[in-house]
Structures are given as structure tokens and as C-alpha cells.
């Protein structure tokens, strides 16, 4: 018989794939729910009947919706996301470089925000109710109350324009050295870090506090153990699952933040690509981007699930 953890993880993976499939249906349906049709809305009211017919032909709108969905999904599974309406470029090709850029940006932001959030969370727990806790909570409350793009302009105004420390446009290309690239994306990374840090730190704080209030922590204290040993040996193994959940949730949040921040700093990534093509009503690109974002989001949640399963002693060592 298989170990229950293996079965459980297999179940979660299957569920994740099912969810992704359902999300693809939802994205497809989401672009079909117009009273008229996509061609009409793309070309607007002034479209001639000929151009409408041409576009319908091109989009395959004359086929039934189910056939279109199946061929779209079939092609997407083989890595073919179709061509953009506006410039006839291959979407998968155009996207791959931008996806790389976006992941680079998100990775840099995660690299800074995750450790800082956990450390700040621990400090807030250690000094719970005292001034370091209150200061951290107050500052993070302010950062989560401001939308990303405003935070971006506030930082640009002071750091790039007034103090001239950083650059306000984050154009990067392949010929740049890593150092140049990092300098170029310093501002967007800072914005993403600040936006995510607040949420992540508050949730980490709550998760660790929850563990620290467990009776087994009192047991450890009554054994006369050192505070550091209590945290490392008794709190940490039980805090992994909740903290990982918090981190993954915020990584998903980061993915959304990326969309806005890329637009502000004119960064050649997925977010800018998506927003550009939404305004141009380039449906195939929007569908492809939506699918990729959904896949990343679902993937991160799945990863969080698997890690919490693996860190749960009840599941690892069944009765």
C-alpha cells in the first residue's frame, strides 16, 4: 500500500490540474460572454461588414465555441499560443522573453521580501505589544493601504527625481550586465517588496504568534529551555506549514503587483504585455497571458499545499 502522504500529494496534483483546466474554460468563457461577438467589440461600432467578416474568419468565430475551445486548448498544451491579432507575432515567442523578465523581477523582489518579512515577523513576535511591534505594524499598515502604482510614484518622486539615487525607467535588454540590470530594476523591486512585505509580515506574525501560544511551548518553557532553543526546536517545525502558506499566498499577490509595477516603470514583462493588449482588445494575447498567470497562481498554491502536507507529522507518521 502506498504511504498516505504519496496518495494525498497525488490527489492534490490531480486537483491542481483539474483546477487549471477549469480555469482555462473560465478564461475562454470570460472572453465570450459578450451579447454581440468579439469581432464587433474589437472593431467597434464603425466597422464595415467586410472587415467584420474577415476578422470573424481569422478568429475562427464561425466555428462552434466548443470546437474553438478544444483547438485553443490543444494548441496551448503543445506550446502553441497562437498569433497576436495586432502585429501577427507568435505569442509564445513574444511571451517567453517577457516571462523571463517578469520572473527575474519577481524573483529579486521575493529574495528580499521573504527573509525580511520573516525576520520582521519574528521581531514583532519577540517584542509583542512593545514599541518595535507597534512601529512595524504601523508602517506596514500604511504600506498596505496604498495601491502599488501610488507607492511607485511616491518612491520615484523622492528617490529618482528629488534625490537622483535611482532611475525611474526600467528598460532592460540582453546586452546589459547583471549589475546594470539590477540597478535598472531597483525601484520596481523596492515597490514590490514594500507592497508584499506588509501583508507577508502581518500574516507571518499572526502565524508564529498562533504557534507560540500553543500549550507545548509552555511545556518547553517549563522545562527551562533557552528562548532560542524553544523557537528553533519547538516552534519552528510547527510554524513551517503556516509560514509557507503565507509566503506562497504573497507570492501569488506579487504576481498581480507585477502587472501594475511593470506599467509604471515601463518594464518589458508579462504585465505590461497583458495591459497593452487588453487596451488593444487583442483577445488571443489576453487569453494566453491569463492562462499563464492562472497557471503560476495555481502552481504556487499547490506548492504551499504540498509543503504543508510534508511538514505535518500526523500525515508523515500515520497511526
Amino acid at each position: 500500500m502506498l504511504h498516505p502522504v504519496v496518495t494525498l500529494i497525488a490527489q492534490r496534483l490531480a486537483l491542481g490540474i483539474l483546477l487549471l483546466w477549469a480555469a482555462s474554460v473560465l478564461i475562454f468563457v470570460g472572453t465570450q460572454i459578450l451579447p454581440g461577438d468579439v469581432a464587433q467589440s474589437i472593431l467597434g461600432q464603425s466597422a464595415t461588414p467586410t472587415s467584420l467578416a474577415n476578422l470573424r474568419q481569422e478568429l475562427g468565430l464561425n466555428e462552434p465555441a466548443l470546437t474553438r475551445y478544444l483547438s485553443w486548448l490543444g494548441n496551448a498544451l503543445q506550446g502553441d499560443l497562437g498569433v497576436a491579432l495586432t502585429n501577427k507575432q507568435d505569442i509564445a515567442q513574444a511571451m517567453s522573453k517577457r516571462l523571463g523578465n517578469t520572473l527575474f523581477l519577481a524573483f529579486c523582489a521575493a529574495l528580499i521580501s521573504v527573509p525580511s518579512a520573516i525576520i520582521l515577523g519574528l521581531i514583532a513576535v519577540r517584542y509583542q505589544g512593545r514599541w518595535p511591534d507597534k512601529l512595524i505594524s504601523g508602517v506596514t499598515l500604511a504600506t498596505v493601504s496604498v495601491p502599488e502604482f501610488l507607492l511607485a510614484y511616491i518612491l520615484t518622486f523622492f528617490l529618482a527625481v528629488k534625490l537622483r539615487l535611482l532611475v525611474s525607467l526600467s528598460t532592460i535588454h540582453d546586452s546589459m550586465s547583471l549589475g546594470d540590470k539590477l540597478y535598472a530594476i531597483a525601484l520596481p523591486v523596492l515597490v514590490l517588496v514594500l507592497v508584499v512585505l506588509g501583508h507577508m509580515m502581518r500574516m507571518t506574525r499572526a502565524a508564529i504568534l498562533n504557534v507560540m501560544q500553543s500549550p507545548y511551548i509552555e511545556t518547553a518553557e517549563l522545562k527551562g529551555l533557552r528562548p532560542f532553543w524553544i523557537i528553533a526546536r519547538h516552534a519552528f517545525p510547527n510554524a513551517i506549514a503556516p509560514v509557507v502558506n503565507v509566503v506562497m499566498l504573497n507570492m501569488a499577490y506579487l504576481i498581480v503587483g507585477v502587472v501594475v509595477v511593470e506599467v509604471v516603470f515601463v518594464y518589458p514583462g508579462m504585465g505590461q504585455y497583458l495591459v497593452d493588449h487588453v487596451s488593444k482588445r487583442d483577445v488571443p494575447v489576453v487569453q494566453a497571458c491569463g492562462l499563464v498567470f492562472a497557471a503560476i497562481y495555481i502552481g504556487l498554491n499547490l506548492l504551499a499545499d504540498v509543503i504543508s502536507i510534508l511538514s505535518n507529522p500526523r500525515l508523515r507518521h500515520p497511526k
Partner: protein, 549 residues
């Protein structure tokens, strides 16, 4: 309590403990939890601390380790451990003390063990971290203690995780954990309260033997005087953070000096003569079998009982015996798979949705937790008045007068009519629930553990009230409880349940007297009695019995 020149294991004088309360929307204020407490535990002796919840007994127990939960602080007095004043020790000094010289056994071992670590690692952790012994020595000692405490497979049980052993076993492992570093004093904080009565007796005996064998001194904290009488040399009775009486165990239980102690010793002194069964039962339960949806297990197996009008049928059993499920089946919340119920010679529809208003009015229910049985957003008047409007269409002055009558019946005044549940004490809440049930003028009230969440003296008052009301209104009670003393006090007939079945059923005098079946014998003999030496006599009787088999 003899004075000796040797320093005592623990000596506390003039103890005062305070905490800061943060009532929502108000300014924080100081509250005194414990004051003017003096006690002394000689080496190798056991002192029992007894009192109701809120008496401050756990707080005193933890003060022996200079530990206060969430903002609780020791604000006065002296605590001497082996003659050393621990109040003057700093954080480092206290760490050296805790887990080495004095250790702790918590009420709920299930919560007190770290779920992520193996039992052995947790049991020997204090001994290793305080460098009291090597890992090999500590593990050998742990295995010896496991054996002494009667745990199965003492050699290998340490490799298990907390969730892999039962509650009773976990409590013994916790005791082993406390004894492992060879401390001078162990604080036992209600170590058997969370256990069923038949499990409690074995754990209690194991703890007692381990204390005797290791010669450790102990503070034994509990709310159950009969339990503490079995293990302690001296007893201190506490109430509201103050000492009521302090003496030897023998003196406290045979010759209590204070009224409060006398009341504790004589709890359930209610005399209730058994009534003969009437010809016309109010409720007949015939061959009921039931399961919870989605669980392929019969929680009730072929239950048949009947209840005479104006009488009390007690359903007794431990947790998991199915006694509360029986109540759910009778109320229609869990329709049985097989069997039927007859109420006053009419078949009672199995499903709640199929019952008419008259059926619903006739059967009322009172719950264990009165706090959650009343809508916190309704006043006492609304709560008691609702059945009046619903069943009898009463409104206005007539309804008001009836509400006052009902409040009078539960010995509460008209002043309570506009109060909210949160403004009442535990006993008052339960009385309001009784009034709500009575308002429907039912023939049967199902009482589900109605006194188990209450302090003994308050519970006594509720039981007396229920008996008085029965005499007055002629209502029948189906009384579900795990407490044999309560059953003795109020039942006319008794059904003993075990693993979903009724194992013994009949008039009280018959059920509670021999010859017994095995389970009832075990259950009845496991209930601690208010006398020293009871534990030994029961165990030797059981040993003889098992030797004879």
C-alpha cells in the same frame, strides 16, 4: 505538617499573585488572583490543592516554578524551593531550576506535547539540556519509567509521535517526562481530569506508585476531592484565591472544620427515593440503530428503553458510549436507521421535519453549555418568552406575567428579564435554559450533561431545582450524564451505555446493586470514593479477581 529543621521541598509564605485584565472598551485594571497563601511540602510528601475553577490553584502550582501565564505576576510573598528563595533568581537562574529541580504535568497531555517531535526526544529533553545525564542514561531511565507507569512496550513507545498513542497513555508519558530529570518537586495540574473515569483510575494508580517509588515531593492540583484524597498526604482547600482550610487528608475528609469544605465533602447529598415505574410510559424507544451520515459505524445499536411520566431515566456512559447520540435520535436530529419511538402511545416521526408543533412542544431540551444554548443577542425575557408566543400564542401582559412566573419558578427575580446571557453567572444561565424548556409545558425534558460544566455546589442547586420542578409539574427527565454521583442523586431508572449499546437497564436500586455485569462493575468501581485507601482496595480487589480468572 510537622516542623523540621531540614528545608522543605517547597515552602510558600504570604503568596500574592496579581494580573492585569483588559476588558474590551474599558481601561485595564488590576485583579488579585491569589492572596495570603502559606503552604509547606516536605520532601517525599504530596500536597493536594483543591478548589473550583477560578480558585487560583493552577496559578499557585505554577508559582512554585515562578511562572505566570499571560501577564500573571507574583507580587508578594516568598517561595522557597529546597530552602532557596526563587523569587530572587533572574531569568537564567529560573531556567536552571525549571525542568531540573521542579517539573510540571499538564491537564491536557494531548496539547502539551509538541506534535512534531517523537515522545522520547521530548521526555529526555530537559535531562539533556540541563546536562543532568547522558543521552544513553536518560533513555534508559525513560524506559524504566515507562515500564513503571504501566505503558505498553516501554522499549519502543518512545519512538512514537504524540498523535500515535491514546490520551491515557500520553498522560503517563507526561508523568515520565516530569520524573525523568529526577526533580525534587513535581506539579501535577489536573492530570486525570480529561480522562474517562475507567481510564482515570489506572493513570491515578500509576502516578501514585511513581511518586512513592521515586520519593519525589508533589503538588497535586484537582477539583475532585475524592481523587486528591487517594494520592495526597495533606490537602489545602482554596476558594476565590484564598485558603479556606489546610490539614491532613484524613482530617479534611473526615472532620472538615469549615462550612465550605463540609459542602465539598458532602456534595450530592440529595436523597431521592426511587419511584416505581408507571403503567403508561411517556416515551418508548424500541430497537433503535443509528449512524452518522458517511460513517459506516453503528453509533447506536438496537437501543430499547422506556420512561415513565414524571420520572427520571438516567443514561450513563463514558465519552463515545453513544449517550448524546441517543438524545439526538429522540429529538429527530439524527433519524435512526432502524427501530421506532412511541410518545404517549403515538408513533413519533423519526425526522424532525415530519414532527408537528405538538410533538416539538412536548419534548424540550437542556444543554451542557448554557452559554452557547442561548442566543447572546436576546434578553432573558425574549428567550423565555419565545416558546410562549410560538406554542400558545401568548402576547402582551399575559406573556409578561407568565415569564415572571417562570423566572420565579427558577428562583430568579423579575430584575433579570432585561438582562443578556453574558450578564449572568453559569448557574443562572442554566436556570434560564430550564425556564425556557418549562415554558413549553413539555411532558419530557432531555437534559444533556446539564451539570458537568458547573462547579459542584452550583450543580447541586440545579439538581435540587430540577427535582422540585419535577414534583410540581410532573415532567419526565431523560438525564444524560457521565457522573455516577449525579445519577444516584436524581434517577428513578438507569440505562448504562457502552460502545453504542445498553449494557444494563432497570430501576435505580437494581442497576446500582450487585450482581453486576463486567462493564457496570468496572464503571461503578472506578468512581473515586471520598475515603483514603479506596484506590488500594479497588486495585487489590481487581488483582484478586483477575488472579482468580
Amino acid at each position: 505538617m510537622s516542623e523540621s529543621t531540614d528545608p522543605a521541598a517547597l515552602e510558600i509564605t504570604g503568596l500574592r499573585i496579581e494580573a492585569t485584565a483588559f476588558p474590551p472598551g474599558e481601561k485595564p485594571r488590576n485583579i488579585v488572583l491569589v492572596q495570603d497563601v502559606d503552604l509547606r511540602v516536605e520532601k517525599g510528601k504530596v500536597l493536594g490543592l483543591i478548589g473550583e475553577s477560578g480558585a487560583g490553584k493552577s496559578t499557585i502550582g505554577l508559582s512554585a516554578m515562578a511562572y505566570g501565564r499571560g501577564g500573571v505576576r507574583i507580587s508578594g510573598g516568598q517561595i522557597l524551593l529546597n530552602g532557596r528563595d526563587i523569587g530572587t533568581l533572574g531569568a537564567v537562574g529560573l531556567r536552571g531550576l525549571r525542568g531540573a529541580e521542579v517539573t510540571y504535568v499538564a491537564q491536557s497531555a494531548a496539547a502539551a506535547f509538541n506534535p512534531a517531535l517523537r515522545l522520547m526526544d521530548q521526555v529526555i529533553e530537559a535531562s539533556l539540556r540541563h546536562r543532568l545525564m547522558t543521552r544513553t542514561e536518560a533513555e534508559a531511565r525513560a524506559v524504566t519509567l515507562f515500564g513503571k507507569l504501566g505503558l505498553p512496550n516501554p522499549e519502543t513507545i518512545g519512538r512514537r509521535y504524540p498523535h500515535q498513542v491514546s490520551g491515557g497513555q500520553l498522560q503517563r508519558v507526561m508523568t515520565a517526562m516530569a520524573l525523568c530529570p529526577k526533580p525534587d518537586l513535581v506539579v501535577f495540574d489536573e492530570p486525570t481530569t480529561a480522562l474517562d473515569v475507567t481510564t482515570q483510575i489506572d493513570v491515578l494508580a500509576a502516578i501514585k506508585d511513581a511518586i512513592r517509588d521515586t520519593g519525589v515531593a508533589a503538588l497535586y492540583i484537582t477539583h475532585d476531592l475524592a481523587v486528591v484524597a487517594q494520592v495526597s498526604d495533606d490537602i489545602m482547600v482554596l476558594r476565590g484565591g484564598k485558603m479556606v482550610e489546610y490539614g491532613t487528608t484524613q482530617q479534611i475528609i473526615t472532620a472538615p472544620k469549615q462550612d465550605y469544605t463540609r459542602a465539598l465533602v458532602s456534595v450530592r447529598s440529595i436523597e431521592h427515593a426511587e419511584k416505581p415505574p408507571a403503567d403508561q410510559p411517556v416515551l418508548r424507544v424500541e430497537g433503535i440503530t443509528a449512524r452518522y451520515p458517511g460513517v459506516p459505524l453503528d453509533v447506536l445499536k438496537n437501543i430499547t428503553v422506556s420512561l415513565s411520566g414524571g420520572q427520571t431515566l438516567a443514561i450513563v456512559g463514558e465519552s463515545g458510549s453513544g449517550k448524546s447520540t441517543l438524545a439526538r435520535a429522540i429529538t429527530g436530529l439524527l433519524p435512526p436507521l432502524k427501530g421506532r419511538m412511541v410518545f404517549k402511545d403515538r408513533a413519533l416521526p423519526a425526522r424532525l421535519a415530519d414532527r408537528d408543533q405538538e410533538d416539538l412542544r412536548e419534548i424540550q431540551m437542556i444543554y451542557q453549555m448554557a452559554d452557547v444554548a442561548m442566543n447572546p443577542r436576546q434578553t432573558v425575557g425574549t428567550i423565555v418568552g419565545r416558546p410562549l408566543s410560538l406554542y400558545f400564542g401568548m402576547e402582551g401582559a399575559q406573556k409578561q406575567a407568565r415569564i415572571l412566573e417562570l423566572l420565579d419558578a427558577i428562583e430568579m427575580g423579575a430584575g433579570f428579564i432585561d438582562r443578556y446571557p453574558a450578564e449572568l453567572s453559569g448557574g443562572q444561565k442554566q436556570r434560564v435554559c430550564i425556564a425556557r424548556a418549562l415554558a413549553a409545558k413539555p411532558s419530557l425534558i432531555i437534559c444533556d450533561e446539564v451539570t458537568s460544566a458547573l462547579d459542584p455546589l452550583v450543580a447541586d442547586g440545579i439538581l435540587r431545582l430540577l427535582l422540585d420542578l419535577q414534583a410540581l409539574e410532573g415532567v419526565a427527565y431523560l438525564f444524560i450524564t457521565h457522573d455516577i454521583a449525579t445519577v444516584r442523586a436524581i434517577a428513578d431508572s438507569i440505562a448504562v451505555m457502552h460502545r453504542g449499546q445498553v449494557v444494563r437497564y432497570g430501576p435505580k436500586s437494581q442497576v446500582l446493586n450487585p450482581p453486576f455485569d463486567d462493564y457496570t462493575d468496572l464503571l461503578l468501581s472506578s468512581v473515586p470514593e471520598m475515603q483514603t485507601g479506596w484506590l488500594e482496595s479497588v486495585r487489590s480487589a481487581r488483582r484478586i479477581e483477575s488472579a482468580g480468572n
